[in-house]
Symmetry: C2
Subunit: 332 residues, 2 copies
DNA sequence: ATGAAAGCGCTAACAA
DNA sequence: TTGTTAGCGCTTTCAT
């Protein structure tokens, strides 16, 4: 039989209130003697408090929901890991959900999370879907957003990355290295992320008196196959480029693979610059020069922010803006 | 103010018992009229039942714990995804934990999970740590193990992969392809996984009348840097090999990168065979031939098994053994 | 077909 | 310093 606080109280000859106080370190006026005794019995009986019962009265579960599109996308493991580490450090657990960017799944999960009485929710998306976010506005739980800057009234916190500067730094570096004809394989322009990176790219060109040409930019999706396809498009248009700035590392890998297959040398014939710095970036040959997103930190900071909001009702600094970093390797 | 079952009952002019029955589809003798009415009010008021309160009485949380070493290791995302998909299909949520293979973290998390009243726990490790598993035996929750075959009395289910056959298939293929001097970069021999793969490797050699030599096998760890180091060891011993069977894909990638750096051509000078088929295997150049582990399926099946055990007390088939598959690409 | 009431295991006023 | 007691929101048995 499961043993409860009552059993401990009986055994110790005290009331459950006393045991509860000891359990919750509201010790201040409990005699050392009974404290010791109760603690002893707890250990001896291997008693584990039932947090479900506790949550019912305290109205908090020490649990948060983490909603991402797909853990299988190499962008997310680090982020999730960061989130989990932070949660764990603050005594919280994480419910983990994959939405595949599907609005139905998203709604279903959010409802599940609310039913499970999570204390707050963290929300990430890789791609904007331009559907309505009405259902998010129904939710009366603290929420923080990662990586996207949409306006939902009841979002109380955001963790964003400076994509503009990231792209700007990367492309500037490419130019300094002597590359002059830099193509940009972009993600969808429906995302602010992509738009910001495009602006950073443009600014770098402009500052170096390189004329910006539409044809050097191809818009696609943040997916594996897009890199190859994009190169094919570029080539079919007979565009000559000596470097490619890719909207993320997976795209870069796919582009690189294809370029090698058609006999190009990297970085001699064409330089490749990625974005994200996923785990594999350093393991491929040549290792990928890329703009490192602080994914782990994003996850960590988001949870930290959320917990602050949960515990204080609001955040001192509700917008965390993280910086990127250029990681130079052999592909440029 | 949060709205409760009482509010719904009042509004509808019925008792909470009635509402509860309707909520839980114990409808059988509730008049259609009140059913409709109650359901209407629930929708109108946007009522969401509090599962915490429910769990307190039903003694089940519809929640399971998933304990893995590190989501950042490319082996796990697919597995986790499979687990999550299955859980979600059965109406369960997943608490997600990373232990880094540290016994203290493991204990801490398991306790947290028990406190949170999970209905069951799934347990994965990449490397055996030979410490005691006493603490696992204290746990009176259904548990299922993935990928390792240790004996813990209260483990009620296991999902295993046939490593012996995987290695055997892979190495046999290498031999068929004409490779004769096949090195094996192994993981730690403290793991059954590694031992099984070694046996598979030996069997393939033997069947093809290739003499097995100790020196062709190097034992290390399932980590990124090991591939390069292993090749260095092999070379420093002046061992000539025309193919390398790597204990996992990360090792293979690292080995491949190093071999290319020292001027070897793959697959001409040396063939590379990996193990796992991680996401990146197909994206690198040359794409990696590897033995595909059914990671997604492992996660999925493990959760399915666990839920069966949770709901029926035991599993009809407590041991699920999954097969591997050889995926031929360009590295051989 | 519906409701009254007990109780799940815990916390937190308030009393003593 | 400790105990009494009233819930938290729900399910479930047993009456009605």
């Amino acid at each position: 039989m499961k043993i409860t606080i009552k059993d401990i109280a009986n055994e110790a000859g005290v009331s459950t209130a006393t045991v509860s106080k000891i359990l919750n370190k509201k010790d201040h006026n409990i005699s050392e003697k009974t404290r010791k005794k109760v603690l002893g019995i707890i250990k001896e009986k291997n008693y584990i408090p039932n947090t479900v019962a506790r949550s019912l009265v305290t109205k908090q579960t020490k649990t948060i929901g983490l909603v991402i599109p797909d853990i299988t996308n190499p962008f997310f493991p680090e982020l999730v890991r960061g989130a989990e580490d932070c949660a764990s450090a603050y005594g919280y657990n994480i419910f983990f959900c994959n939405t595949d960017d599907k609005i139905e799944k998203e709604e279903k999960y959010i409802n599940m999370l609310v039913e499970k009485m999570v204390d707050g929710i963290i929300f990430t998306q890789s791609a904007n879907n331009n559907e309505e976010f009405n259902h998010l506005n129904q939710i009366r739980k603290p929420m923080v957003l990662i990586d996207r800057d949409i306006d939902i009234p009841n979002i109380k916190g955001k963790v964003l990355v400076d994509n503009f500067n990231g792209a700007y730094k990367g492309v500037s570096y490419l130019i300094r290295k002597g590359y002059k004809e830099i193509a940009f394989i972009s993600g969808p322009f429906s995302t602010k992320t992509s738009l910001d990176r495009l602006e950073g790219y443009k600014k770098a060109l402009k500052e170096n008196d390189i004329f910006f040409e539409d044809t050097f930019v191809v818009e696609g999706e943040y997916k594996e196959g897009w890199g190859k396809k994009a190169i094919e498009i570029l080539m079919s248009k007979n565009i000559s480029f000596d470097a490619v700035f890719c909207a993320n590392d997976i795209i870069a890998l796919s582009a690189m693979k294809f370029l090698k297959e058609v006999g190009m040398c990297i970085p001699e014939d064409v330089g490749i610059l990625g974005y994200d710095d996923i785990y594999m970036a350093k393991l491929i040959e040549p290792a990928l020069t890329t703009i490192s997103q602080p994914n782990y930190k994003m996850g960590y900071e988001a949870v930290k922010l959320l917990i602050e909001i949960i515990e204080n009702g609001k955040a001192k600094e509700p917008l965390v803006r993280l910086n990127t970093e250029l990681v130079v390797r052999q592909s440029t």
